[in-house]
Every structure is written in structure tokens, then in C-alpha cells.
């Protein structure tokens, strides 16, 4: 705690003009900063050794109806202490320019382009001002998250073509891939520039599945939006619904009962398990080693069927609600889960030794798709991918939520940043999740699973929440409106932070290895595109 205070004082000493704000919901330091000071202070936070700030989230709010301003908010995680620092600035209603921080913080590049598309605010000095979310056929002047843009507006169509970065020269050619791929996966476009086999450049062109999720949140109320959060990215049903519910609970000053918090951790670990099991198999399958894939998808199916038996949903839908868990599990059901874990752990350990003894498989995975620690840090990579590149971060340990303050999570960390490291992080996390589930069964207290709140959220009040989903950190910012409505909801799936990094991990690799590298990242398109 003393350390935090010293960080705050140090920051205030370095920049006397900033104003510290009181924080109502959650634990972080909040400062008001003038717009001109933003590049300097963000650079200071990012590079100063004592701070080592990682850009965690950047979002904008259209406050024009009430205050005639746009709000911009920059959230940093100070790596040594995992403390959050939030910088806020306001743009007067007719001011549409703000200084870009991308020239010295790479991680901001997509956030700023997203703000430009959704709000029409222009990041001055941004090196790449092409459209991101809005494809080129969207008419000029459509900025969906502005308050005066109707949510059910029918978009027209204009002429336009996306301009890719081009490399020209003898023997250099482009390979376009997507948006519809050969496997059963989501749509996205990849543009490779190659000379012979090795990839010289990869450029992503995503946001094909943009459904207007953040605008749809604004049509919901705080109490009814959970099903929408569950469908932001289907494979992360619990992660997203939990992050949303936690934000709303802070707004309502609602304390979740201990049993409810344990159940939430349990479901989150079950979700991590079935996704990691599927990924380990799929990575092997992309090297044409089908046997582990068959075994892993069988084990994944066992967990999905277990989910279905316990909750009536294979994806655990409907088990998270504002105030706690949507259902309770009996002691017999908890014992059933643990028995299933024991069986699958034994099963999986046998498979692991088969995988480890296959030299040709390991040879294919090692040194493929290396994401160095430096690149991972520069792009503020999170989750499994970050932990495979030596970034020691896991919200379950760093900012405990649900029941993780009472459970000891061993954070897996590898340094090499190649496909094998990402697979090993998943393998180790499978064991860790099973151990956590056993610990939960032993420690889970009796009592109610959910609490109600008589309080109403104040209009304009907002809260942040963070959950370590199976992919990485999921962030929500929920701002309440009048009478329990939602004024603004910012959703950040870990995929949004990690996608740009893949462009650096593939350089120098051959195109046939790209599916393997992509699988080892396994990012969501739906969660990224929103």
C-alpha cells in the first residue's frame, strides 16, 4: 500500500498540473490530465523504470448529451505492483482532435483507430489512419457509438477498397487468405507478402463479424444484459458474463456471497479446461498428428457433457447472474466433477507422454512462430500468449476476483515464446485448473449462492472489472444511465490486445506454418470484432 502511495506522489510531483480524483468503485488511482499533456505522461508511465506501465485499456465515452464533452480514458497496469492507474481527459464537444500516443506506445494503435471509427475523434499523429472496424464500404460519417447515431440505423453502402501495405520487388508476391477459411473457423482476412516460402509481412484485415455489441449493450438494462455478454465470444461464455456481472455488482455495491464466488471460480476453471484441451489437440492436428487431436477432442467432449449434465448448457450459459451464481451444486455433483477430473487427468497425462515422445512433432513446434518478450511487452500482449513469452501476469493472482483471494494459483510461465511454449502453458494450466477444482471442492463454504440489492445505480456512475478468462484478461467498463439503463459498456476481449502481435510472430516463418502459429494463439474473431 505504501508503494502505491509513493507511485501516486511521484506522478504528481513529476506532473504538478494533474488532478487526483476520488475512486468510488474498485482499487486504482485516477487522475485528470489535460489533453496536451497526454503524450508526455503516458510515455513517462510506460517507460519510467519504477512504473513500467502496460497500456491495459483505452476507451472513449460520448458525454455530449449531459456535459457536451467526449471523455477519453487510458488505463495502465504498473507491472511491478499490478496496480492500475487511470488517466482521463475531456474533449469539448466540438473538438474532435486528440493527440495520438501510438508513436511511443504500440499497444494503443488499434484502440485509437477504433475510437476514430466509433466516435469520429481523430488521433493526431497516428501513423496509420485507415479504417479498422468500419470496412471501406460504410458511408462516410457513420460513427455508431455517438449518442446521436440510432442503434437500428440501416447503413448504406459506398464505393471503397481497403489499401493493404505493399511490398514490391522481384519475386515478391501477395497471398490473400479469407475471410472464409478452409476449416470451421470464424471469418478474418490475412494478407501475406512472401518471397519464396518465408513470410516477409503479414497484415490483418478483421472486423468481419462486427455486430455492434457495444451499441446493443446500450439498449439493455443493467439487469438484462447478461445473455448478451455471454454471446460476445461463445467459447468464453463464463469469462465475459462474469466480467460484466462484477462491474454491475460494483455499481450496485453488491457483495457476492462466498459460496457464489467459489462456484464462479469453479465454472471459470471448467471453461478454461475444455478450451485448453481442445487447443492442445488442435495444435497437434495442425502438424498433421491426428491422434492427440482425437484424444483431446474426446476429453473436451467429456467436459462439455459434464457441463450439460450439471447446468443444462454445454457452454455454461445462464449460470452467472448479477449478484452471484444462477444455480447451486449439490455435494454429490461436486464429487462427480472431481471424479471426472481425476479420470481426465490420468487420461491426459498418458497423452502428454505420447506427445512429448514424438520427436518430429516437438521439432515442428520448437522455434516456430517466436514472439519475443520485448515484442510481447511492446504490444501489451495478455494471457496464455503473454505467459508463453515470459510475461509473468495472471489476474487470478495479481488482482484476485471471485474466490481466487482464497485459492492459491500457480502461474505458469515459459520464456521461449514459440508454439511449443504456448502449448506447454496450456498443458500446465490444465493440471493447475484440475488442482484448483479439487481445492474448490474441499474449501467451498455452505450458504446462499447469490445476493440481491435494493440499491439502484446512479446515472453517470461507472465501474471497471477484470477477469482472467482462459485466453487472458477480459475487461469491462460499465457506465450506468438513468433508471438502470446502460449508458456505455466497453468490452475488451484478450483477442483485441493479442491479434496485432501475431503479425510479428509469423515473420520469417513459412506460410504452411501459419495455421499452426495461428492455432497456438487461438484468438477469437467475434470477441475482437464485437
Amino acid at each position: 500500500m505504501a508503494k502505491t502511495r509513493s507511485c501516486d506522489t511521484e506522478l504528481k510531483a513529476a506532473f504538478p498540473s494533474i488532478v487526483q480524483e476520488d475512486v468510488v468503485h474498485g482499487e486504482f488511482s485516477h487522475f485528470l490530465v489535460s489533453k496536451d499533456l497526454l503524450p508526455t505522461i503516458t510515455r513517462y508511465l510506460h517507460t519510467q523504470p519504477g512504473f513500467h506501465g502496460r497500456l491495459t485499456l483505452l476507451w472513449a465515452v460520448d458525454n455530449r448529451p449531459a456535459r457536451n464533452t467526449y471523455g477519453l480514458h487510458y488505463l495502465f497496469t504498473l507491472e511491478p505492483s499490478h496496480r492500475w492507474v487511470l488517466l482521463s481527459t475531456e474533449l469539448a464537444g466540438d473538438d474532435r482532435l486528440f493527440p495520438s500516443i501510438t508513436p511511443h506506445i504500440h499497444a494503443a494503435q488499434w484502440y485509437e483507430r477504433e475510437i476514430r471509427d466509433m466516435f469520429g475523434l481523430i488521433p493526431q499523429g497516428h501513423p496509420d489512419l485507415r479504417r479498422l472496424v468500419r470496412h471501406e464500404h460504410w458511408p462516410k460519417g457513420t460513427h455508431p457509438l455517438k449518442k446521436d447515431f440510432p442503434w437500428d440505423h440501416a447503413l448504406g453502402r459506398q464505393q471503397g477498397e481497403h489499401r493493404f501495405r505493399r511490398i514490391e520487388g522481384e519475386g515478391v508476391f501477395e497471398v490473400p487468405v479469407g475471410p472464409i477459411h478452409a476449416g470451421i473457423i470464424e471469418p478474418g482476412h490475412f494478407r501475406f507478402s512472401v518471397a519464396g516460402e518465408p513470410i516477409m509481412q503479414l497484415e490483418l484485415h478483421h472486423f468481419w463479424t462486427h455486430r455492434g455489441v457495444e451499441k446493443l449493450f446500450e439498449q439493455q438494462t443493467l439487469a438484462t444484459a447478461v445473455p448478451l455478454a455471454e454471446r460476445v465470444s461463445g467459447d468464453t461464455t463464463i469469462g465475459h458474463s462474469l466480467a460484466y456481472c462484477q462491474a454491475v455488482e460494483s455499481l450496485l455495491h453488491l457483495e457476492v456471497p462466498r459460496r457464489g464466488r467459489y462456484l464462479r471460480s469453479l465454472f471459470l476453471e471448467l471453461e478454461r479446461l475444455h478450451n485448453h484441451l481442445g487447443d492442445v489437440g488442435a495444435i497437434c492436428n495442425d502438424t498433421a498428428y491426428a491422434l492427440p487431436h482425437a484424444h483431446c477432442s474426446r476429453m473436451k467432449e467429456q467436459i462439455m457433457q459434464l457441463n450439460d449434465r450439471l447446468t443444462g448448457s454445454r457452454f455454461l450459459r445462464g449460470v452467472t447472474r448479477v449478484g452471484g451464481a444462477g444455480l447451486d451444486l449439490t455435494a454429490a455433483q461436486l464429487a462427480e466433477i472431481v471424479a471426472e477430473m481425476d479420470r481426465i487427468e490420468q487420461d491426459f497425462s498418458e497423452l502428454e507422454s505420447i506427445i512429448a515422445h514424438n520427436a518430429s512433432l516437438i521439432d515442428r513446434l520448437e522455434t516456430t512462430g517466436v514472439l519475443t518478450e520485448r515484442t510481447a511487452w511492446d504490444h501489451a500482449v495478455v494471457g496464455v500468449v503473454g505467459r508463453a513469452s515470459g510475461l509473468d501476469q495472471d489476474l487470478r493472482r495479481d488482482r484476485p476476483f471471485a474466490a481466487y483471494d482464497e485459492l492459491s494459483v500457480k502461474v505458469v510461465n515459459y520464456r521461449y515464446g514459440d508454439v511449443r511454449a504456448r502449448m506447454r502453458v496450456r498443458m500446465d494450466e490444465i493440471h493447475e485448473s484440475m488442482r484448483l477444482i479439487r481445492e474448490i471442492q474441499l474449501k467451498i463454504p455452505q450458504g446462499p449462492v447469490a445476493a440481491e440489492s435494493g440499491r439502484r445505480a446512479q446515472a453517470g456512475d461507472w465501474a471497471l472489472s477484470a477477469v482472467e478468462g482462459w485466453r487472458g484478461e477480459i475487461l469491462y467498463m460499465v457506465m450506468a444511465g438513468e433508471n438502470g439503463t446502460i449508458q456505455r459498456c466497453k468490452v475488451r476481449d484478450p483477442s483485441f490486445a493479442n491479434w496485432p502481435a501475431i503479425q510479428w510472430a509469423v515473420i520469417g516463418n513459412i506460410i504452411p506454418d501459419f495455421p499452426l502459429i495461428n492455432k497456438s494463439f487461438n484468438l477469437s474473431y467475434a470477441g475482437n470484432d464485437l
Binding site: H135, W138, P144, F149, P150, W151, D152, H153, A154, L155, P179, I180, A182, G183, I184, I185, E186, P187, F207, W208, T209, H210, R211, G212, K215, L216, P227, L228, R231, V232, S233, G234, D235, T237, G278, L291, A294, H295, S297, R298, K300, E301, M304, Q305, D308, R314, F315, R317, D347, E350, L351, S353, I354, H357, S524, Y525, A526
Partner: protein, 168 residues
Amino acid sequence: MFRILKKSLKTGVVTGRHPQAIQPSEPLTPEVRKKASAFNRSLAIREVDTGSCNACEMEMNALTNPVYDSERFGIHIAASPRHADALVVTGPVTVNMERALKDVHKQTPDPKLVIALGDCAINCGLFKGSYAVTGPVDRHIPVDVRIPGCPPRPADILKALTDIQERA
């Protein structure tokens, strides 16, 4: 080698170890039956995601796992629409995917079936009305078979697909 054999013998056959389908599937119209009869007992599917949350994709992927093993019914996934007999479309059709969906439909050789998988593809689900959604699927291309659910369970999908193969 010995390790692999031991593992396979220990695991045994898991195919078919899943709960039965519960969702009653919509009966097929005679026209669809007639169209489907050309494929006999083999169905090559191209899956197209036009904005789903990826839960439907996960369940389609589950069809190829050893438990459901759709290949034993002659149902397999084609890598290109040009090799496909049927398109399985998931998700409400987003503004950005509308063109791609129409292109894929054009590229699929006739006769072809279009299967709308999941509530979003059938009626846009929770995303109905959004500025970024132009769906449902049958607004853009003719739909022959509908498989409801959010997402439908693999057993239900398998039942609906094998229904198509049945002779009139």
C-alpha cells in the same frame, strides 16, 4: 508405438457415447427432399460464419470428434465451397459479411442446400435490429433447412443432417 497402442486399446470405442437428440427437427419439405436425394448418402458441407459468437462453430467442430464422428454417416467438411453440396451458415449476417456470403453461395455448384444453423442465422437472435446486422440468412440467400438452438447441441445437428440423407 507401444504406448500409442496401449492408449488406444485402453480408451476403446467412444463413438455414439453422447446424449440423444432432444430438439425435434422441423420436417423437410418435399422440394428439399427431392433436392437432397441427388447427394445420396454423402454430404459435403462448407461452413460459413457470418457473424456468430463462435459457439455454433465449436459445436460443428464437435461433430468431427470421435464421439459424434459424422464421417461415419458420409457427412464431411469440404475446404472450399466449390466442393460442397451444402452450406451451413451460422450467425446473423453482418454488414461486413453480406458480400462474402453471397459470393460463397454463387461459388457453390448446383444443386445445393443451404442450412441455417442456430437462432442467429434463423432470426438474428439477440443481435436483431443492430446497425451492423443485415440478416437473417434467408433475407440474402434461400434457406432449405433450419436447425434452431443457441447453440444447437451436436446430437441435434447430427440428427438434422442425417434426416436430410433419409430417402422420401
